[in-house]
């Protein structure tokens, strides 16, 4: 059913049109297929909870730091006060902020897992995201477990100003300690990942993989084309472009993701003769 006007027999709450191939997808089917188009493999965005469900061994996820909520360091007001924005996002999503963290196993490998959710204020990174990731990295160091972060974010949260910017320094400090200790960190980049998240932890994995077709840019589309005033080619700053330019290890489809992460972590564990981590 490509390109036509949407006929009445496809109401929104039941059907979604694939933006790539135009196929009308039955919503229940789409969810069962992990939000991937069954015809062309277009990867729709996936929320943090179903993502965790998909990635971890059944029943292994224990959420951590779930009560953390953001303060308002700048007492920031644009068209409405920042605390009201947070409250609205919380009410809409049922989550406290844009990342969920926990301890889990992936294919039998113990991990600290952090998954971002773009639905919560554009996945923006403020104090809560910064603290959850930093604590996850510190737990990974203390317990000698691998760290896996799934990014989906527009970047630093403007409403927290420089305090959001400082989260980059905070998270990266913790990742650098993990690196020195020889504990693996796998960065999974999903659509979209831009700005300060890409310019910090998302780009620092021992391995960096992305889902197909994900927007991955330092500058958002608006900034890049607006500032430079030129039209960018199709596919610019997408996963395939970054793979070609040498900034990704692999593009991995959602269906393969769990198995692939498990393979990598398993390989690292098997090769660690002194078993410095993962036991």
């Amino acid at each position: 059913m490509p390109f036509g006007r949407k006929p009445k027999e496809f109401p929104d709450h039941l059907w979604t049109k694939c933006p790539t191939c135009g196929e009308m997808l039955f919503n229940k089917q789409l969810v069962r297929n992990l939000n991937v188009c069954s015809k062309c493999e277009h990867h729709f965005r996936l929320g943090a909870r179903p993502r965790i469900e998909q990635l971890v061994d059944k029943g292994s996820f224990v959420e951590q730091d779930s009560s953390l909520v953001s303060g308002d360091p700048l007492r920031f007001v644009d068209s409405k006060p920042y605390p009201e924005r947070i409250a609205a996002a919380q009410a809409k999503s049922g989550e406290k902020d844009a990342a969920i963290a926990g301890t889990a196993a992936i294919g039998g490998n113990p991990v600290e897992l952090v998954v971002m959710d773009f639905e919560f204020m554009g996945g923006s990174m403020g104090s809560v995201v910064g603290e959850k990731i930093t604590r996850a990295a510190e737990r990974a160091l203390a317990e000698r477990r691998a760290l896996v972060i799934v990014s989906a974010s527009g970047g630093a949260r403007m409403q927290e100003g420089t305090i959001a910017l400082m989260q980059m320094g905070k998270i990266v400090s913790a990742l650098a300690r993990l690196d020195e200790a020889g504990i693996p960190y796998v960065s999974v980049i999903t659509d979209p990942t831009t700005g300060g998240v890409l310019a910090s932890y998302a780009s620092l994995g021992d391995l960096i993989v992305a889902e197909p077709g994900a927007l991955i840019r330092f500058s958002g589309e608006r900034v890049t084309s607006g500032t430079v005033g030129e039209k960018l080619p199709v596919g610019f700053g997408r996963s395939e472009f970054l793979l070609e330019k040498g900034f990704l290890d692999q593009i991995v489809s959602r269906a393969q993701l769990k198995e692939r992460i498990a393979f990598f972590l398993g390989s690292f564990r098997a090769a660690s003769q002194d078993v410095r981590w993962g036991l």
């Binding site: 420089t162 305090i163 400082m166 910090s200």
Partner: protein, 322 residues
């Protein structure tokens, strides 16, 4: 409801090692006048303001510029090299704006490309290898956001620069001279001591960018600047900078010599202290400095463990005045 605030404001306690430097402003209460955020934005961007090379030539001796990232090219928006600070060799890395339109075009308005950050990383490593302290001078509207930057890994280069600084086993002093534009500034701004000139600004996004996104109108930049708390005194209140270096009465652009003199006094005093600290103490204090940022509530959580003793407490000289 709020049971525990994690790392709200570092405040004067976190600035304890700066307390005996009478030349520095360590509390915004010390300021007789507080410029408006928008005035600070204008001052920080003033084309006559002393830029990195103006500062280098006045503060340091025998500066030898070192070029290139050893991979792609030499980025003129970042200058670096070896020089002496009162006879002590140091490595300097700074973002370079121009003082004229032609010079700004040549320097790309102080907006580095990835190879600029990779040059910075190379110089950080050089400093570590030969036990030279690093002094960085931050002055950028932001990292260059164009397609060439994306193609060559702007985000990766910034991330690696931040990563390198967090564990660099040598003292690092950061001075924000003018504009501290987001990640493009942070790639030079992880340090043991972070100072800023009185009218410098530091922000997560430009006021114009913030206005366009949050107020949907770039003309609201002045309002955005106020809301973002990006001016020196705000940064001091938030603990983002440890101290402000006072500017001459009319602003730094009116007197480069006086400005440089104040920067030099601050650098010499800070370096003297940092060099007495063991590297392991420096690295753990640097970790704690950034670890503390965040305004959070955690209902039901246990009390935070007491923070580790900061390195400067080991030296009687640096104890806070009563």
């Amino acid at each position: 409801m709020i049971d525990r605030i994690v790392g709200a404001r570092r405040g004067i306690e976190g600035n304890g090692h700066l307390a005996d430097d009478a030349n520095l402003i360590i509390d915004s209460g010390q300021l007789r006048t507080r410029a408006s955020a928008w005035d600070a934005v204008q001052a920080a961007r003033n084309i006559k303001r002393p830029h990195t090379l103006d500062v280098i030539t006045r503060v340091f001796d025998r500066f030898q510029e070192l070029h290139g990232d050893r991979g792609f090219r030499d980025d003129p928006a970042i200058v670096g090299g070896i020089a002496e600070l009162q006879g002590r060799p140091v490595v300097i890395v700074g973002e370079q704006k121009g003082a004229s339109t032609e010079e700004n075009i040549q320097r790309n308005f102080g907006m580095p490309h990835p190879e600029g950050y990779r040059k910075a990383i190379r110089l950080y490593r050089l400093a570590e290898k030969f036990h030279l302290p690093v002094i960085t001078l931050v002055d950028t509207p932001g990292a260059y956001p164009g397609p060439e930057g994306e193609e060559r890994g702007q985000a990766e280069a910034i991330a690696k620069a931040i990563f390198t600084m967090t564990r660099l086993a040598t003292p690092i002093i950061v001075v924000i001279l003018g504009e501290g534009g987001s990640g493009g500034a942070l790639a030079l701004a992880i340090g043991d001591v972070v100072l800023a000139l009185e009218n410098a600004i530091y922000s997560v996004i430009s006021p114009e960018g913030s206005a366009a996104i949050l107020w949907r109108s770039p003309t609201e930049a002045e309002r955005a600047a106020n809301a973002m708390r990006l001016a020196g005194p705000d940064l001091l209140d938030l603990g983002v900078v440890d101290a402000l270096i006072p500017e001459p009465a009319g602003g730094a652009h009116t007197d480069h010599e006086e400005t440089a003199k104040a920067i030099k006094i601050a650098l010499v005093a800070q370096l003297a202290k940092l060099e007495r600290a063991a590297t392991s103490d420096l690295l753990s204090a640097r970790y704690e400095r950034f670890r503390g940022f965040g305004t959070l509530a955690e209902p039901g959580a246990a009390a935070a463990p007491p923070a580790a003793e900061p390195w400067w407490r080991k030296f009687p000289l640096m104890r806070r005045r009563p």
